[in-house]
Symmetry: C2
Subunit: 198 residues, 2 copies
Amino acid sequence: MSRAEQKEKTRRAIINAAFQQLSADKSFASLSLREVAREAGIAPTSFYRHFSDMDELGLTLVDEAGLMLRQLMRQARQRIVHNRSVIQTSVETFMEFIMQHSNVFRLLLRERSGTSAAFRSAVAREIQHFCAELADYLRKENKCSAEMALIQAEAMVILVFHAGADALDASDEVRQRITTKTIQQLRWLAGGSKPPAA
Amino acid sequence: MSRAEQKEKTRRAIINAAFQQLSADKSFASLSLREVAREAGIAPTSFYRHFSDMDELGLTLVDEAGLMLRQLMRQARQRIVHNRSVIQTSVETFMEFIMQHSNVFRLLLRERSGTSAAFRSAVAREIQHFCAELADYLRKENKCSAEMALIQAEAMVILVFHAGADALDASDEVRQRITTKTIQQLRWLAGGSKPPAA
DNA sequence: ATTTTCAGCTTACAAATGTACGCCCAATGT
DNA sequence: ACATTGGGCGTACATTTGTAAGCTGAAAAT
């Protein structure tokens, strides 16, 4: 194996190790360099060959999470075409998605209001992308102003993300109820802004 | 000073020390027993005379935060009577409140989706109280079902809390914009549910 | 073929942490 | 007046942490 390939491989091992350790009971902040190195199967000091410190690793994780968000958005859009309710389809897709990538989602959720300013703004940036895309869709669909569309999109994203957070630790049955509830909430938001004066 | 009085005094010193150390860059999880003890002006081992461990202290903090939430609710209600818009008054009161008690609010915000299950459920309980009170108000005001009122209240609380989180670290000007935005979002929610079919 | 590069290792150390153990002494109980 | 209680302290120890220094061996460059 070439040297570059090998290096990339261990780099991924570190990233995967970090994601793996992120669970309901373990936040990124509570993760230690040594733990990650152990899980990745390398010596603690070898970590520095790839990242200058844990923060740099963290920002990489946030970037990866951002990629996943975009993937989610695409997936939701594809399903919308040949289905009934846009909102219902989107929320259900979202729920499926976060169950599959729960640790990625947990990272975004926690660092969104976490202790590191760098992390907070990195997460905020990713979520802004997400909101902007949704706002664009809403604007075209509802013919409202770009400003209102963005405000509406932000509210929707907050509600969906929050529902996701609750759903992560819930049973299938409770998750179904959360989904229904969220759909209702989004419908209120969507309905309220459609007619500029009605 | 009586012994009981003295004990209560140090207990409060510990609690205050903990709240003091909670800032934008310091979560409860990243707080160490020794740090708290140092700030409170006692020896590390004296901590155990009041709390069996940091978790017990944490739950106490959450309880205190819950008390403050109820105080906030009362304060908002008082102002509503002799003012114009209910939503505007409430959101503005909320914003003022969290600026005054930012560390208390930060605790609730972080532990809401934190790493300790005990904390999460404790915070969830406090927020549920808050939602229930609001839902009660909405039900009477809007004559909608109790179930819908609760779902609506939950959405509102999530949005307001989230706005609060953003506002904490923002400039006065940005905070004003956040306030306006939130009011708009709540109005959509409120408007959507008032007429059961319209 | 020889030199250079560099990912990964081992060893080492200082700092911080949680907490067990036991002493002290002033408020309380008898 | 004497005994007990209990809050606060100092000491001590095992762990865990981040990271500095230096070695090794194989891939890459010459």
